[in-house]
Amino acid sequence: MLLVTCPYCGPRPEIEFHCGGEAHIARPAEPAGLDDQAWSEFLFVRTNRKGVQAERWLHQHGCRRWFNALRDTASDRFLATYEMGAPRPSAGGGEPR
């Protein structure tokens, strides 16, 4: 089980959290202008990186707030957690393995 550091509550066991998948996927500003291919990419296509990726987490059985995290998917190690809306920290880079 992972130890997840909520930016509001501190370190808590993973079972308190829900992982919301890849972060920083912005909803298209003008949905009506999108063609099927662009919609498909927004809805379904994911980076699925082996290495450092940014993802959304919800402290479901805690403060019930969403936050973002940088995590290495090869080792499961968390590199940083940060508040929603904040830019992705440079820590860990983001180079694929």
């Binding site: 993973e14 992982c19 296509v45 990186r49 082996k50 995590r71």
Partner: protein
Amino acid sequence: MRRFSFRTLISEAFKGHKGWERQWRAPEPKSSYEVVIVGGGGHGLATAYYLAKEFGIRDVAVLEKGWIGGGNTGRNTTIIRSNYLYDESAALYNHAVKLWEGLSQDLNYNVMFSQRGVMMLAHNLHDVRSFRQHVYANRLNGVDNEWLTPEQAKEFCPPLNISREARYPVMGAALQRRGGTARHDAVAWGYARAADAMGVDIIQNCEVTGIRRGADGAVEGVETSRGFIATRRVGVVAAGHTSVIMERAGVRMPLESFPLQALVSEPVKPVFPCVVMSNAVHAYISQSDKGELVIGAGTDQYVSYSQQGGLHIATHTLEAICEIFPQFSRMRMLRNWGGIVDVTPDRSPIIGRTPVPGLYVNCGWGTGGFKATPGSGHVFAHTLAKGEPHPINAPFILDRFRTGRLIDEAAAAAVAH
């Protein structure tokens, strides 16, 4: 290839079993091949076998970064069934079951396919209605499936606890009698041996590090840890690492990779006659011919390539197993492990062309690809040989995520696949 037969077995027994030879070669990669398969698991090896056998394409290399069958082929719970809800899925998985039924003879290798029956338990009214719908839909598609009362389920699987006081009461079960198990390693080895005998090069310890594309965008070859290999056709069958490989060709996929866990107990005498699955509590269990209880658990909630998974996932499954089969509560577990499964948004596989000319993909089997191994290899070989899909895998193209023609087995089959 020296064929296995009763005669060779007897003659080897008298010679102290010293005459058995290597079952497949360990060739150096050639500078070019007609077709290159990336990934030496069951699906990749089956693809190579059917390319050689059905389509006469023998200039084929299977590139495996580790050893063959060392990924999900050696990590699954070996369950085979085809009771999927939708017509497209039923056709695909039943195609595989039909091939399973003659596979040992076809390969001249005992894959220990055992049609001991797969029983799916219903624990609540929703399960009952959903499974009965499955039973009727399956029958219309020519897939055997039948509904059992709790007493009939108990008769088919005596260890089952059908007490009304149980934590997860059994309200009935759907039984596919043609379902069962096979020996997973033997499937990889059998396909490897038969493909090798027809001239396919199986190259282990050879990692694909890049996919080279020409000025027109078409595939020209693959960069590997053992040098460049030229080819015009590449079939990527890399399961959990599909996104990683495809990124090297500049293609982004509708996939996420999760660890799926399984575990085995200490071996005991035969106590469990069939396969039992419970979607509601996410547990499935059978007994291997070695005597171990083989137990499948769930996936972790986050993307990971770690091949481990959280212990709380396995704990949850074991707690449920002990409620449904109380006599197993004192069994000791020997090993647990994870395999990285590539999951699509609609929980159905992707088999077909990609936007890159010459690049084909067979992926997205998610938490249940082993059962489809022969069928998957067969239709993918057809796709690679002809350049267009077999009628069975035509609905499973990558483009369905653009057109919206999804095959939503996620909603149809709850969680377990």
